[in-house]
């Protein structure tokens, strides 16, 4: 099925836009805005609003009709975990019965990132939104190193505690600082010949599985992640490996 945006009639293609142009407000700017949206492939473009943001900048709200849709059949959904995840008890049960040892997990907010709320949500006892964190899982040994941990230190620690998985949180993404930092992490692991030794996971509000895999991680986790997702992912991968 080809999905096209929907306003009030199937396949009408309605899309709302807003953007700024480095152009003073006026007829030229409005026409430029209109033509620009047309150039992006939209029809019936209507610049419904414009105002001046300063002498050289102006703001536009526009609506247009998309002429292209997207074939749903061709879409690969690459989420780290599928629709069904283990509950805390199920995950622990599987570890106990099928892995037969504790799973060791090390987590941190790395680089200059100090947004610990996300990694805490996954790891701390109290968890998040009524989902307990990994510290509460009896079959997991979870170490949360906190904020602004250098990649080097994180790897050292993971080696020391013989971690199964390393969990990294990256929330600040401005100027792609997270990509630089995550790339450096993978390169360090590889340089030290440790890449295969750990499952490496990254999460954060602007992180997706796709990006994570591209950067060389095993999985990526965005908004709405709970400890269950992480536990499911780790347990399944460890079972695979050890099978």
């Amino acid at each position: 099925m080809i999905a096209r945006p929907y306003g009030d009639t199937l396949d009408d293609g309605a899309v709302q836009f807003s953007f700024t142009l480095p152009v003073p407000e006026g007829p030229l700017g409005r026409e430029a805005a209109r033509q620009l949206v047309e150039k992006w492939g939209f029809e019936q473009v209507d610049v419904v609003h414009s105002h001046s943001l300063s002498e050289g900048f102006s703001f536009y709200v526009a609506y247009g009709r998309a002429t292209t849709g997207i074939d749903l059949a061709g879409i690969q959904v690459e989420e780290a975990t599928g629709p069904s995840v283990y509950t805390m008890d199920e995950a622990n049960e599987i570890v106990r019965t099928r892995l037969g040892r504790k799973v060791v997990v090390v987590g941190a907010c790395t680089g200059f990132d100090a947004h610990t709320v996300g990694i805490d949500a996954i790891m701390n006892m109290k968890g998040y939104n009524h989902h307990y964190g990994l510290e509460r899982y009896p079959e997991f040994e979870a170490y949360n190193l906190g904020a602004q941990v250098p990649n080097e230190k994180l790897i050292d620690f993971a080696v020391k505690v013989q971690a199964d998985a390393i969990l990294i949180s990256q929330v600040v993404t401005q100027k792609d600082v997270h990509i630089q930092n995550l790339t450096q992490f993978i390169e360090m692991l590889q340089a030290r010949g440790l890449r295969e030794q750990f499952l490496v996971l990254v999460g954060g509000s602007r992180i997706g599985n796709k990006l994570a895999v591209e950067l060389g991680f095993d999985g990526g986790f965005g908004k709405g992640t709970f400890a269950e997702h992480v536990a499911t992912f780790i347990v399944d991968r460890l079972l695979e490996r050890e099978a």
């Binding site: 306003g7 009639t9 610049v47 419904v48 609506y63």
Partner: protein, 524 residues
């Protein structure tokens, strides 16, 4: 809605009483005119109540065909010839309707035994009453079953795709998103058609035709959504325009829950003849009342053309008149959704306070009425972000002043009829704001002699003055002079004038008689 309303404004009760008394006096000569007249639409509505339905090959509805046949003796009403045909032919109602659609003339049959005809007519009244009472009972049972699940005020959205099937999708989505009331907006200019189209329709502009089949389709869908959402979903349409009473009839039969229905809107905003409108509105309201439908009056419309500060008193004056005419048609206050609107200029310093004063004033003057509060429209622009904030302030004002029915503002008001996503954002906006400041109204007092209190008193005073003028010159004269909404409407002009008919001594309408007695109107 019927909890006693606390007085925060200290409005003088004697002035309120005086305004009501003036409204009574202003309405009286109009009512006298109404009693002596019928209209083509009143007669067609009566036929519909009796069961006349369907249309001929050109799309002319059966009720119109019958009324056209008997147009020259309409002073007796159109029902008797139809009943006579039923008796004479022995046909069922449906059978007769089909015949008429194929060209059969009821006016050519000589009238049979009066007693037999009247008995047949009573049977039809009975059937109608049974159906509508069942509707009322069903509505009441559902509302009982899902008590406490609707929002307060009721969150009211519109659908307006032009296609009833597309409307159904939008309405279902709206229910899913939290709406309590769905209004199917009519296609532009249906109000000027002197007939009601027949069947399911898919071609309207800025709205969908009001047809009985469309009503049925939407009702069915919303009843399903009600079960799913466990919330009664009110259905609204327009008993307005040239077919006001007929649409009321259709609504009562298909269990609509609300109708836009105003005693003077059509005159002012649709240039419908005033005599026609006055006669039509009364019968339409009797039907609405019997069907248990809440009317929504159109005072908001004054402020789409006039200034909300300058003309606030015309809104209140019109509310008093609508209240009076509604009462004279047997509507109890709990079915009077008197209209007003948040149309204050957003850049006016303290505009929100003036608005809050006016909204609260309406609440205190009409304490049992489910006031219908309309969103900003005139001052909305293509800036959807700013518009969404204007709507938030409207949501705040509505909850803070205790409104009954809240028509949701759309961030795209100045651009297009609502997209599905616009409605969802509007519902989210209202649900957030109203839940977050839920008990605000009961938490605050207004400062004595402050801006808010003074504003409300001032509007009330201006209203009484205005009603005094109307009382002096008469309502019809006032409409001719353009005292409302700045438009002048001569009494012998306007659409639908030709459809007015003085009643003869033998005028016969047992449906009207039944309704009047049910509504306790017998002695006007």
């Amino acid at each position: 809605m019927t909890a006693p309303v606390e007085s925060k404004l200290g409005l003088p009760q004697d002035r309120i009483d005086q305004a009501r008394e003036l409204a009574r006096r202003i309405a009286r000569p109009v009512n006298q005119f109404i009693e002596r007249h019928t209209t083509v639409s009143v007669e067609r509505a009566t036929l519909r109540l009796a069961g006349a339905d369907g249309a001929n090959a050109e799309g002319i509805p059966v009720p119109n065909l019958v009324v056209d046949q008997v147009r020259d003796r309409l002073e007796d009403g159109a029902l008797l010839p139809y009943v006579n045909a039923l008796v004479r032919t022995g046909d069922s109602v449906d059978g007769l309707n089909q015949k008429i659609a194929q060209g059969f003339r009821v006016d050519e049959l000589p009238l049979g035994d009066r007693g037999a005809l009247e008995r047949k007519a009573e049977e039809l009244v009975e059937a109608f009453a049974t159906r509508v009472k069942a509707n009322r009972a069903f509505r009441a049972a559902c509302q009982e079953r899902f008590a406490g699940r609707n929002h307060s005020p009721l969150l009211y959205v519109i659908v307006a795709t032009g296609n009833i099937h597309e409307d159904v999708k939008q309405a279902r989505a709206a229910a899913f998103q939290g709406a309590d009331v769905v209004a199917v907006i009519r296609t532009t200019a249906q109000s000027l058609l002197d007939y009601v189209p027949y069947g399911a329709t898919t071609e309207g502009f800025g709205g969908t035709f009001a047809t009985q089949e469309n009503f049925r389709i939407m009702r069915e869908a919303l009843d399903e959504e009600m079960e799913r959402q466990e919330r009664y979903i009110y259905l609204t349409n327009y008993a307005s325009g040239l077919c006001m009473p007929e649409i009321a009839a259709m609504g009562a039969m298909e269990r609509l829950d609300m109708m836009l229905n105003d005693s003077i809107y059509g005159i002012l905003f649709r240039d419908i003849n005033m005599y026609r409108t006055f006669v039509d509105q009364k019968f339409s309201r009797m039907i609405n009342s019997f069907g248990g439908l809440i009317i929504n009056t159109g005072e908001d419309n004054y402020l789409t053309t006039s200034d909300a500060v300058e003309k606030a008193h015309t809104v209140l004056a019109s509310q008093f008149l609508n209240e009076r005419f509604a009462r004279d048609a047997g509507l109890p206050p709990r079915l009077m959704g008197l209209g007003h609107a948040f149309e204050m200029d957003p850049w006016l310093p303290n505009g929100f306070l003036l608005e809050l004063a006016q909204a609260r004033m309406a609440r205190e003057i009409f304490p049992e009425h489910p006031l219908k509060y309309m969103p900003p429209t005139k001052h909305m622009t293509g800036n959807i972000f700013m518009g969404h904030v204007q709507d938030a302030m409207f949501n705040f004002a509505s909850k803070a002043s205790g409104q009954g029915i809240h028509l949701l503002g759309m961030l795209t008001e100045a651009i297009h009829t609502p997209f599905m996503m616009d409605r969802a954002l509007a519902l989210e906006n209202a649900r957030y704001v109203m839940n977050s400041m839920k008990d605000f109204a009961s938490e605050i007092e207004f400062k004595k002699d402050g801006l808010i209190v003074r504003r409300a008193h001032q509007v009330l005073e201006e209203t009484v003055d205005f009603l005094e003028v109307l009382d002096r010159i008469g309502l019809m004269e006032a409409l001719e002079q353009g005292l409302f909404a700045e438009v002048k409407r001569p009494r012998d002009m306007g659409k639908g004038l030709e459809g007015i008919q003085e009643r003869g001594p033998d005028y016969y309408n047992p449906f009207e008689t039944y309704l009047a007695s049910e509504l306790g109107l017998s002695a006007n």
